[in-house]
Symmetry: C2
Subunit: 315 residues, 2 copies
């Protein structure tokens, strides 16, 4: 019998109450194989006797600075990351403070060498296959070398989903090599220098073309990526809003990010899934499903092996 | 009788042939008041005898550096901007090289004091009134003081459209004051320092909320704004693509940027409208209509008077 897959779940930090998340998680748990164990981390007050439950005596507020996680060792974020570090769980799912989660994961779990920065990676719908977009919010500013590493990470992620030779594009404001910021131009230059065995470089991609599905990975900094994700979300909701009734809206329902499974915090030594604070309980449950899938595909190990075999000084 | 409104129109630089633009412009011209004159600027080869036509003997390619406009004095961009400078026309409409148009307009027309940088301003649809977004591509990088000026320019533009006290937001990745880049944080601080008589500052706005219509002006740098515009366009097209037939798609047709009237190059001493290279002939014609509207509202004069009366050192 394979060992149990254990998923740690932070019930706080979401705009949904811990109670409503717990109800959705109970439904999920009822249908899961016995090889999967869900371990909840939540507030003191919550009574939960049917699933393993750890009470966290501190909270991290959305206005707190990320560094606060170092002092709040009884917060759900610290407890979850600490359990992940000690291999007591195989993945951690949270809708909590993004900055604190990123900083905590980087320092407590460490990076997969030679990666320098974690990136939040989200799958988004296109006219064809879903596109992996990173970074969608872990790093407000990046250097060219980070963007190049994000290309490798995004490609490895898509390979774990069965895409053989992922096409990787850089999010930019035009297709020409000299477009955009100096960091993007330098990353373009580095990525186009020589063909790479693990992915093909598709050059610059504009926002309007990202949804055609011609590339599998879209690389950007965390500020631009966050604007990209939320703008797509806003426009999808506007489009849905423009249609007269639910039946006609239905083909657009998969464009609504309220149902999205959250983002993978890629690059750290552990599976961390960050859900939107405003995502629905169902989306949160989808995030848990995604965590289970990623643990099963051994993504972290594969990433590490890829980079070990790679031994590419350009990284 | 009021003086004629003269609009200079660059037929080159679009992905549409000059011939197809000319056909659409002829239809427009047939329905215009005799107080409006359209003056075309296009390639040598084109035969046009029914409308005033100026042949341009040089072209500017999309791969050329912006600075090339200084050497190409027989290009449509130089000819149009020169006519605008000499008041031979009241507005200039072009789908040509963005960088060359911005640089040319800034140096040949000059800025409205105390403005430092031109910004491309586009109107976009929301659930309520259209939102003016700037900058959507004139400046890849900006400083906080530029963002603050864009807030004033965007507000003046919306006032010219009849919005009494425009609400101005900063495009950011969260609503909290400390979110985003250092430039945005500083602009936030400057804009929230004291109430302003001409607009209300609505703080940070996320991409997902921009389409709710709660703000009238969305301020951002030209890189992020361009990504915002094109991402919205891409998602709108994806949504339209997901629907089964034309009748059901119809309520979304106004979300398709192919029909958009282009962007105003705001801040320079003259009315310059930049159309997408890939916009349809109809959208290009909409750009000409927008140029006529802006000339009639005396936007440039009003902007200059606003800033003169303002005499605000924070600008």
């Amino acid at each position: 019998m394979p060992p149990k897959v254990k998923i740690g779940i932070d019930l706080s930090g979401s705009e949904n109450s811990p109670e409503s998340l717990l109800a959705a998680i109970r439904s999920l748990a009822a249908g899961l194989s016995t090889s999967i164990e869900l371990i909840l981390i939540g507030p003191d007050r919550l009574a939960c006797h049917d699933l393993p439950y750890i009470a966290a005596h501190e909270t991290i507020g959305m206005d707190d600075a990320p560094i606060i996680i170092r002092r709040k060792k009884r917060s759900p974020l610290w407890i979850g990351l600490d359990m992940l570090r000690k291999k007591k769980i195989d993945a951690f799912v949270s809708a909590g403070h993004t900055g604190a989660l990123v900083l905590g994961a980087k320092t407590m779990l460490g990076m997969i060498p030679p990666l320098l920065r974690p990136a939040l990676l989200a799958l988004m719908p296109t006219k064809q296959k879903p596109i992996a977009v990173l970074d969608i919010g872990a790093n407000v500013r990046v250097r060219a070398e980070h963007l190049v590493q994000f290309a490798f990470v995004g490609a490895a992620y898509q390979r774990s989903r069965g895409v053989e030779l992922p096409a990787v594009g850089l999010l930019n404001i035009g297709s020409e090599a000299m477009k955009g910021t100096s960091e993007i131009r330098l990353a373009y230059q580095k990525l186009s220098q020589e063909p790479h065995p693990l992915f093909s470089f598709a050059g610059n991609i504009e926002g309007k073309d990202a949804f055609n599905g011609h590339v599998d990975v879209l690389v950007t900094d965390g500020f631009t990526g966050n604007v990209f994700l939320k703008t797509a979300e806003g426009m999808a909701n506007l489009a849905i809003d423009c249609l007269p009734d639910d039946q006609i809206k239905e083909p657009l329902s998969h464009l609504s990010y309220a149902e999205y499974p959250g983002a993978l915090l890629a690059g750290v030594q552990g599976v961390v899934i960050k859900c939107h604070g405003y995502s629905s309980p169902q989306a949160f449950v989808n995030g848990i499903r995604e965590a289970i899938r990623i643990v099963k595909t051994n993504l972290i190990k594969n990433l590490a092996i890829n980079f070990f075999l790679e031994n590419d000084k350009s990284l």
